[in-house]
Symmetry: C3
Subunit: 441 residues, 3 copies
């Protein structure tokens, strides 16, 4: 099925880009070493590097700011951290892997008995070589994460423990990138950027979204697009609080995260369950050529929790590959540069663009000749020899004509026909040009 | 389950008729040799033979008449056609099989080089002995259809090609038969009659519908019935155009076609999807004793396309056995007198009558004793010994009583009860006579 | 999942009671020998014994009273019955088993030829050792029920037949027990008590319901509870007729019967199909730890037929284990003390209480912090270390918060979350105490 339209410069145009997976992976490599958290210089450093790709608007929200039921916490920064043995050797070393320190650990610098140290250590017995990822944002404490092997080698009576961190008045940092479209109606794309050296969760989301933004910037857009990069939970809450008066402009939204692994695509519906974004994403994934998973909304996961809280209730879904908590490497040091792959990142990029394309093109039309079928053959739209099978292109024309009564969108037609949206959209284009269809406002 | 009602003379009565299959088949045999098309004397000859069964009202609509987006085409007639080899032998001969000529072929009479001839030939490589059926109604050209064997035997440099046809101002011919009922509300039965020597598609439909009309003429009818025999597509469009002011009298409609093969019954729902005809046909086929197929509406197939176009949107479904395009013999010379069978035609006839019977009998009633169950035993309607299993007849009484609240039709009750409509209808009859039910107007 | 609430004295509290199965079984043993019918002293004797457990309010409705379409029949009592052979030996003896006499048999005392006697005998050829249960309440006759073995031993020419029964003006006896709650809104629990020596049908229902009443009497109740013990069909019709002006107080109802056998739980939905009792029972049975069966309403079964007649249409469902007619021992002497078991009775008792508990606790709430999630950690409701899996208790908190928009009841939340109602209910309790939830009136 070949469209005769030329939309190369539009969101509806071709989405295949050679090498995009490598570009996305390249940014992940650059950002991987940085120790991010929900606040601090790691976030700022990350955003500066991303600015090489898109002109991000960076915002700072001061510690202590009330954001709905929450308060923006103190800013956390860390320079160094280690546990030294009696010979002065760093046996746990933040310089080796920033996952070793529990995020938001308070400063400490003293000799600690093994028993006390153990109370501040996390490990993964079932994966003895991996370091877990732990945080303690709102309960001031300190802690280290270690491999099970490291844990088992702790045999001395006491250890020198140092975390050279600061917890001070400062700010929470997030970034926005806004692309105006023909309409003020917005598509919101959100991804969390608070995780330290973890690739799938969520450098994959950060880099795919950054490249989506870069790509969309060059295209003609019906919708305006707003990309938000912010820390998880407190970041989306802060963003919603700061933008609470403008939320009604958001017509569709997508949280993008965990899009670099080998797992199948997983779309989690918005709380509304049947929002247009839900139907668009469902359609695209059903036609993506591999088995995709569709989940109903649950109030656990990433920042869709906040967008879909009962008082906000925006039409925001979530696209991941394997969801949070559903792969062993999740929130461990094994979520590294080998765990995400350029091909997967490229596929994720493409599916997102396809979803946006459905949103862009999903319109209501009316058949201008609704009494019986119009004579397509006379207009050169139909084969002239009868008695043979109908080609898919002609069947798509008939579907669009039959269902274009002002009550069915093109996505409705595609779903009823069991055909790909692009085929239906292309048929609508032919019929529009033939004057057999008119848009419904 | 035995009904004590005597409706022998009603649509609701017994539908089994010994020998009906042979009668239906007999008419097919008579009509098989005629070369029909969307216009022309073949159609007229066909209708004259059918008039031996039912007093058809034959209509002629002049070429050039505007019918919605279409124009009634010139009338096509053909006397002879052939391809002769250098020895003057007819190697393709319309006299041998009228499928050999592409329907609506323009006249030609000249020697043609093989290469040019080949461009005007259709064959079926996968079925080398069969002749395909092809038409070119609206693109003036000429062509022959041949078996693959015939095609392969064409080795001479040129051939004498003759099609002795005419394409002239004339008319499109269709026929109606109207049976008035107690109500002006109509049931429309449509079948296409434009196909030449093809038995299942659609002499089976023509003959079954003609015999349905003959049978219904002798019965008491609540609904009026209108039978239309017309060419496919242009015929239904013409009929709809000519009758556009009276379409609101059509309460239910059925396109009947392809009803003589060995395949299972296939009902295709109207565009509305849940019209009463859809529910009646679905119910009847679910209880027909073999597996039937139920299809949602698609805007491809037979004349239901026009009845179900968005501006018409009548409650018209379609009954076939194996649908168009779903059996290898479809639109080939193998759809011949051996392909259709009297038993199958008889079964199709009976299922149609059963569908009409549901429409006739499907009423709303109110239980006149809605507070608790009425005492059926006192009225002789219920077994007097307790403790045993309930017979189906009594269960049907309880279903009708329980659901007759003015909101459920008998068909609703049958569906809820999972019982055959006839059993429920019979129970309603018993309750009516006992004064326990009253009809809702 | 552990609730921190202390509701020991409420319907919502713990329902496990050691030994309850034995208590329920004990009452069945006591009532088993009594010959009950739809009227008569057997019913009165039964109710007197039950009064040892609950202070039943016993009602007498005189013979001849019009109850909707029915009339309360004459009262039937029986002292003795037998068939004697020529040697004066009782070969069929009511004293041996009261099922031997067809319930409501008219008196007879004469010598009867074998052929005539045979016309008045019922047996079960497929179960030669079992005596069937038969009744003839509204068609005056006489009859005996015998084992197939007994039937086959009848070889003499004539027999002395005696049924020492009376059919006289008297009354229909039923009993009520009313437990007032905080609200006037009532939960109706109905069970039939007209069956003679049959244990599952329905001494199991009688005894389980009596013990439910006894148990609920000691608990704090939001709803009022009305327990009705009455004969099948004529009893529920009489009760509905006598109470017709107060039926709108019944918000939920349950017919309980056949709850002592080894079969799975079977809930039959009310005629409404989606009443709260239907949803509560469905939820409880889906979480009961074994496969339960859920049936749509059909107008056949027990007294739900009357409660769900179209003019009454109360939200009354039915809980059984194996339903009527679906086990071979049904309505035979094999439905004896060995057929019902204390464990099964105990489980049935518990499931009923769980259903009542859902009704008691199923409220609508509003999240008082609906904009984004409230910070649960600050309130001690959420783990302080991030990065790990979420425990079920916390997930339940998130579900209740997310769905508490005044539109979803706790049962809705439980169904959406796929979690047990108790877990959701417990989470709601925590949130209420934290001020994060407020009840919707």
């Amino acid at each position: 099925m070949k469209s005769d339209r030329k939309h190369k410069g539009e969101v509806a145009g071709s989405v295949h880009r050679v090498g995009i997976g490598d570009e996305i992976y390249g940014l992940i490599e650059k950002l991987y070493p940085i120790c991010r958290s929900i606040t601090g210089d790691g976030v700022r450093e990350t955003l500066e590097i991303m600015r090489e790709h898109i002109p991000l608007d960076i915002r700072e929200v001061p510690s202590g700011t009330q954001v709905f039921d929450w308060v923006v916490p103190k800013e956390w920064n860390i320079r160094d951290a280690y546990v030294k043995n009696s010979r002065g050797k760093r046996i746990i070393d933040f310089q080796g892997h920033n996952l070793h320190v529990v995020s938001y650990s308070a400063p400490i610098n003293r000799v600690v008995p093994l028993a006390e140290l153990r109370d501040h250590l996390s490990s993964l017995p079932e994966h003895p070589a991996w370091i877990p990822y732990r945080t303690s944002y709102y309960n001031q404490t300190w802690g280290f994460c270690v491999s099970q092997k490291q844990l088992e080698q702790l045999t001395e009576k006491e250890y020198e423990v140092c975390i050279d961190s600061t917890l001070e008045e400062g700010s929470l940092t997030y970034a926005e990138y806004f692309l105006p479209g023909e309409m003020q109606d917005e598509v919101l794309i959100f991804t969390h950027l608070c995780h330290p050296s973890l690739c799938n969760d969520n450098l994959s989301g950060i880099s795919v979204v950054a490249h989506l933004a870069k790509h969309l910037a060059a295209l003609k857009r019906r919708y305006s697009y707003r990309f938000v990069f912010a820390p998880g939970t407190i970041g989306s809450i802060t963003w919603l609080s700061e933008n609470r008066t403008q939320l009604d402009q958001i017509k569709h939204g997508l949280v993008v995260a965990l899009v670099g692994d080998d797992g199948p695509f997983t779309y989690k519906r918005s709380r509304r369950g049947d929002a247009e974004i839900d139907r668009a994403a469902t359609h695209v994934l059903r036609h993506c050529g591999e088995e995709a998973k569709l989940l109903d909304f649950i109030p656990f996961g990433y920042d869709e929790r906040q967008f879909c809280s009962p008082g906000i209730n925006l039409p925001v879904g979530r696209l991941t590959r394997t969801p949070n908590g559903c792969y062993p490497e999740y929130h461990t040091s094994a979520d590294d540069l080998a765990f995400v792959r350029p091909e997967r990142l490229s596929e994720s990029f493409i599916q997102c663009l396809k979803i946006f394309r459905v949103l862009e093109q999903n319109r209501y039309y009316e058949n201008t000749n609704p009494m019986c079928e119009p004579q397509l053959g006379r207009r050169g739209l139909y084969r002239t020899t009868g008695g043979t099978d109908i080609p898919g292109r002609e069947l798509a024309l008939l579907w669009v004509l039959n269902m274009s009564d002002g009550e069915h969108s093109l996505l409705d037609v595609a779903e009823l026909a069991g055909m790909d949206f692009d085929v239906i959209c292309s048929a609508a284009g032919e019929l529009l040009r033939a004057g057999l269809l008119s848009p419904v406002e």
